[in-house]
């Protein structure tokens, strides 16, 4: 494993964690008046994938898009402003938490319809291929997203055309409060790629080395014209499906279940490793943390100061 890559991944993960915690902490102030689906606990996969991507590479996401946006390098100020419904937001306040977008870094947007953006990512890959480029496109979706028929249509099409797309399924075992086993006859989602000739793998999303290895292969496959990959990453969302809180009280899963994942937190483990190996010094760590902290504080401050959009803007951006 190349050291700069691991440091890059670390920084991305840390950024996501810190921004998400800040969102959670500030949510009760009722200034972010939109539903939020936090990514805390699911930082590793997008951090790794984005570390292997350029801004020309494309990402499409779902309702749970914060990590994907941040990992891809999406602008933090614009994200926080968007959550605050401000005109300075990444979607000018039109989108909110479920529709984060930053075209300048290849974050192409997020759909609040489960699995709804998977074909858009495939279309992006088609465009890349038609243009003869070496870029790739990533479709993020959850275990629930794998239940929508459109996903299989996309697997078939992408394999048929050998498109440079990675189907990145973050399997956190639940759709809202419904366990995967109540919804799927075979819970190993990666088993469904074979029927379409899509190389597929189930990966422990908390095992950073495994994530890096599988992503490396998938990215190479895409860039070398060998077509799509389906990666199923086992992961865990630490907070409630929607909202800032822990959700043990709801009763669908135990605190112990989540705690076992937390014990293996890839951010914590990577940090410890990097410190131990000397790739990261305590001073670096502090500096990085402070930088992120400042960036977040600035973002929240600016968001609170930013103007609201005006009523006539409701009618902007409907047509080009």
């Amino acid at each position: 494993m190349k050291s700069p890559l691991r440091l890059d991944i670390y920084r991305r993960m840390l950024t996501i964690r810190k921004v998400e915690e800040a969102v959670a902490d500030n949510y009760s102030k009722q200034q972010m008046r939109c539903p939020i689906h936090l990514s805390i606990g699911q930082e590793a996969v997008p951090a790794v994938l984005s570390a292997m991507m350029t801004h020309q590479d494309r990402v499409y996401s779902s309702h749970r898009c914060h990590a994907h946006y941040l990992a891809k390098g999406g602008n933090i100020e614009k994200m926080i402003a968007e959550l605050h419904g401000k005109a300075t937001g990444c979607a000018k306040g039109k989108g909110g938490s479920m529709h984060l977008v930053d075209a300048s870094v290849g974050m192409m947007g997020s759909s609040a319809l489960v699995a709804g953006s998977i074909p858009l990512a495939v279309g992006s890959a088609l465009a890349i291929q038609r243009a003869g480029k070496k870029d790739l496109s990533v479709a993020y979706f959850g275990d629930g997203g794998s239940e929508e028929g459109i996903f299989y249509e996309c697997l078939n099409f992408a394999a048929l055309k050998k498109l440079p797309v990675i189907f990145a399924c973050e399997n956190n075992l639940y759709a809202t409060y419904s366990h995967q086993s109540a919804r799927q006859s075979v819970t190993d989602i990666s088993k469904r790629g074979a029927g379409f000739g899509v190389p597929s793998e189930r990966v422990d999303g908390y095992d950073l080395k495994a994530v890096i290895d599988s992503c490396t292969t998938a990215v190479e496959r895409a860039r070398s014209g060998q077509g799509p990959t389906l990666l199923e990453f086992m992961t865990c969302r630490w907070r409630d499906h929607v909202g800032p809180d822990h959700d043990y009280a709801v009763g669908y899963r135990t605190e112990k279940e989540v705690a076992e994942w937390m014990d293996r937190c890839p951010l914590k483990l990577l940090e410890a490793e990097l410190l131990k190996s000397g790739e990261l010094t305590s001073a670096d760590k502090l500096q990085t943390e402070n930088l992120i902290k400042t960036e977040i504080e600035t973002a929240f401050h600016r968001a609170s100061q930013s103007p609201q959009p005006f009523t006539p803007e409701t009618f902007d951006d409907i047509y080009a």
């Binding site: 539903p35 419904g85 005109a87 937001g89 306040g93 039109k94 609040a112 239940e147 409060y177 419904s178």
Partner: protein, 351 residues
């Protein structure tokens, strides 16, 4: 004597469901999350608690197939209730609803019935944004073979849902999220309200206001304000868009001569257009003023609270339109100038 008590809209949904399932043991209920702790805003919880997983069960996120599965079971004589926490999810099943549920009886020359109720909830507020806030009653009403119901008060909600579940046809049952929290007097016993009859929620003589779903509350509030200014507005709770109760509307307009239609959906190409068109044809001679529509403007739903605030029609909008209609001195309009209204957003709605 009928005993009633005050309950909220979500409780009315839950109660109608349980009572209809008691009345007909073949009825079953399915939907994403119907059996979880929150039970679709509480509306499915009591049914799950009472009937268990044999009759109330969770679904995979496969709206297209599961809708078809519900249709298939309904054709077998097992009435199915489906729930979507947001209407948008039903668009994935559009082909099943429009090409199959609505037409299976017709295409089979009447061999089958399709008793399925598809509940869907319309989001509003707290930044639901463009994909979690739409209502599609105008789409579904286009199709013969479907019935389309939008209740208002808890009383209407319970009675209409009870009827919908007993109806042998596919019914799209659209619940505005804000109605779940509205309270009202509701009989304990099961009862039916006819699908296809509008209700005169409050009488009046100067203006008819046909209101759909949540807008019934807005219209009633506007009526109170207008009354203080000496304007008497009749409020018709449409209850059902298909079948459309033309007679109740026309009788009212025959009396008042003025019509406002207020809808939770877009005005343009929406259900209010059909009502206006119908009255402008069949009630032409009753009309003393132009028909006015008060609904969503011609834009997707924005997320930001600042934009949401002006996006939705308010009581005051209704008051203004009503006063405008009353104050109208009926000057002959001129032919429009070359300036093209369609290019001005202000033209798109009453905002």
């Amino acid at each position: 004597m009928t005993s009633t008590r005050k309950i909220a809209g979500w409780q009315a949904v839950a109660e109608a469901t349980v009572q209809a399932m008691e009345a007909d043991p073949k009825v079953f209920l399915m939907g994403e999350g119907v059996d979880d702790a929150k039970g679709i805003f509480g509306t499915t919880k009591s049914a799950f608690d009472k009937f268990g997983s044999a009759r109330v069960f969770d679904l995979p996120l496969s709206e297209s197939a599961t809708t078809g599965i519900g249709i298939g079971a309904a054709i077998e004589g097992q009435p199915c209730i489906m729930v979507h926490a947001r209407s948008e999810f039903l668009l994935l099943a559009m082909d099943q609803v429009v090409n199959h549920a609505a037409k299976w009886r017709y295409m089979s020359g009447g061999a089958f019935r399709v008793p399925i109720v598809i509940r869907c909830i319309v989001g509003r507020g707290w930044g639901q944004a463009a994909q979690h806030s739409q209502s599609f009653h105008s789409l579904f009403s286009y199709f013969p073979g479907l019935k389309v119901v939008l209740p208002s008060t808890p009383y209407e909600t319970k009675g209409l849902l009870y009827s919908a579940i007993q109806d042998p046809n596919p019914v799209i049952f659209i619940e505005h999220r804000w109605l779940h929290n509205k309270e009202g007097e509701v009989p304990l016993r099961p009862y039916s309200l006819p699908l296809g009859r509008a209700n005169i929620a409050a009488e009046g003589k100067d203006i008819t206001c046909v209101a759909i779903s949540y807008q019934v509350y807005e219209a009633l509030a506007a009526r109170d304000l207008l009354a203080k200014q000496g304007i008497s507005m009749e409020v018709i709770d449409l209850r059902c868009v298909r079948p459309l109760d033309r007679v109740t509307i026309l009788r009212s307009v025959a009396k008042t001569g003025r019509l406002i239609v207020t809808d939770i959906g877009h005005s343009q190409f929406g259900v209010s257009a059909e009502i206006a068109a119908m009255v402008s044809s069949d009630g032409f001679d009753f009309l003393r003023a132009p028909i006015r529509r008060v609904g969503l403007p011609d834009a997707p739903t924005p997320c930001a609270p600042a934009l949401e605030a002006s996006y939705y029609p308010t009581t005051q909008d209704l008051v203004n339109v009503a006063k405008d209609l009353m104050g109208r001195t009926a000057p002959k309009a001129k032919a429009p100038s070359e300036e093209r209204e369609s290019e001005s957003p202000a033209f798109s709605g009453p905002f």
